[in-house]
Amino acid sequence: MREMGSRMETAAGAGLEARARSGVEPFEEFYRRSFTGMTRLARVLVDDMEDATEVVQEAFARMLPRYDRISADRVDAYLRATVLNGCRRFIRREVLSRRHRPRSVQHAHLGADHVLDAIRRLPAPQRDVVLLRFYLDLSEAEIAQTLEIRPGTVKSRLHRALLTLREVLG
């Protein structure tokens, strides 16, 4: 039975192995290559490095079982989208939890990151576009692929976000 189990284990991992054999980067290597960049990306949105790490780890864990089904030219975009979605979930949880606990004002931080605060206060769709455009320097086409929206939508979201930011930061 153990042997049979070993055969099945092999079968279960056959997708990933086949992917590795066909020259596609194994998931572990993909993880080690992308981890730091994605942690920094998440850090911009969730502020705390520990929280950012948690979001990114969860994103990789969600991606792991699907990795062999994602085409090679889409894995980076898929990962970025997964991380952004994870950040969004995290922020939503944080907002909800803050409603149920007393707010503590940390005066030392007031105004220190007002540009960042303005970005974080943008609606999530606009915030994601700003982040991908100005932090990751992605083209509009790459942003459209990551968020699975049309390039025209990217332009309009970016335009509206910049208008808002100009007003806030002006």
């Binding site: 039975m1 153990r2 042997e3 049979m4 189990g5 070993s6 055969r7 099945m8 284990e9 079968a11 279960a12 572990e28 993880y31 080690r32 981890f35 730091t36 942690t39 920094r40 990306l41 850090r43 911009v44 502020d47 490095m49 790490t53 780890q57 969860e58 990789f60 864990a61 969600r62 792991l64 079982p65 990151d113 540009v115 960042l116 970005i119 700003v130 982040l131 100005f134 932090y135 320097d137 910049l162 930011l165 100009r166 007003e167 930061l169 002006g170």
Partner: protein, 303 residues
């Protein structure tokens, strides 16, 4: 509107890069990702199992016409009894992808009921070579007579070392194991001693249900993954004119099951069985129908 376009973009990029790089950056934790992925999978299976249980409960309640309203289902349309009692772990098992399982057929098998343990245990043994026996509350693999290790002595050594398993090499070079769970040491040793010869009597508490056709044994692929806390072993075969389906599940934290799940159906022998726990009466019938013969052991009737 007094911020110029380029200035604003520069400020945005700069603020985000500063925020991204502040503080100590953690190192990648690959093991952590694997743990999380496993946890997600277990949660998914648990959720599916919980949903299945809920559906089964609702179906049962509807069938039993709980509540004060008039019965809406005529007697003739009531679902068969097999569908009314389901086991969460079996639902979880069925919810698993087909790729999670591998199925092997054991020809010339013989099935035993453990009278001492009541209705919850079945032991199946490959008849031609006493190589594998599956107990509902444990997996017992026994070496063939021409294996290179003396099974009983090796098993005794293994038990003395505090282990409940024994790995051994078969004559063809493949590796087998004896794994005991829920069996007392002396029972296991007795079983190993008697079955390894292929001629000796088996313990008196094991009642032969007679020879059966090929038994299909399935084991979940996750059984060998060290990160997965559970394994599912299932077997099915034609036993005494019925389709028997035994399922053994090792710890699934959120799906309560003690193992030792023996399910017998009266249905057709094709397709997924409509499964349920055998009733005591059915099990007694099954035991009574057995004991008619054996392939490998001359004394399998109750003594």
């Amino acid at each position: 509107m007094n911020v110029r376009h380029e200035d604003l973009e520069t400020r945005l990029a700069s603020a985000m890069r500063d925020a991204a790089r502040g503080g100590d950056e953690p190192a990648p934790n690959w093991a952590g990702v694997q743990r999380l992925a496993h946890r997600n999978r277990v949660r998914r299976v648990s959720t599916l199992a919980a949903c299945s249980v809920l559906v089964a409960v609702l179906a049962t309640a509807f069938t039993l016409r709980l509540g004060n309203g008039p019965a809406r289902v005529p007697e003739a349309a009531a679902p068969p009894a097999d569908a009314t009692v389901t086991r969460p772990v079996l639902e979880a098992c069925q919810a698993l992808s087909a790729t999670e399982f591998d199925v092997a057929a054991m020809p010339n098998s013989e099935v035993f009921a453990d009278a001492k343990r009541g209705s919850a245990t079945t032991v199946a043994r490959a008849g031609r070579l006493p190589d594998v026996a599956i107990a509902g509350d444990g997996l017992v693999a026994l070496r063939p007579a021409n294996a290179s290790v003396q099974g009983r002595e090796a098993l005794l050594q293994s038990l003395a070392a505090g282990r409940n398993w024994l790995r051994y090499e078969r004559a063809d070079g493949s590796v087998g194991e004896i794994v005991a769970r829920g069996l007392a040491d002396d029972e296991l040793v007795t079983l190993a001693t008697r079955l390894e010869t292929g001629t000796g009597p088996i313990p008196r508490n094991l009642v032969s249900l007679g020879p059966v056709g090929p038994i299909h044994v399935a084991q979940s692929a996750c059984a060998q993954r060290s990160t997965d806390p559970f394994m599912v072993t299932a077997m099915s075969g034609d036993v005494a004119g019925r389709l028997a389906y035994a399922l053994d599940v090792l710890t699934v934290s959120s799906v309560r099951d003690e193992g030792r799940s023996t399910i017998v159906t009266n249905g057709a022998s094709s397709g997924p069985p409509a499964v349920r726990q055998a009733s005591e009466a059915e099990w007694r019938d099954l035991v009574a129908a057995g004991g008619t013969g054996t392939i490998t052991s001359p004394t399998t009737a109750p003594r």
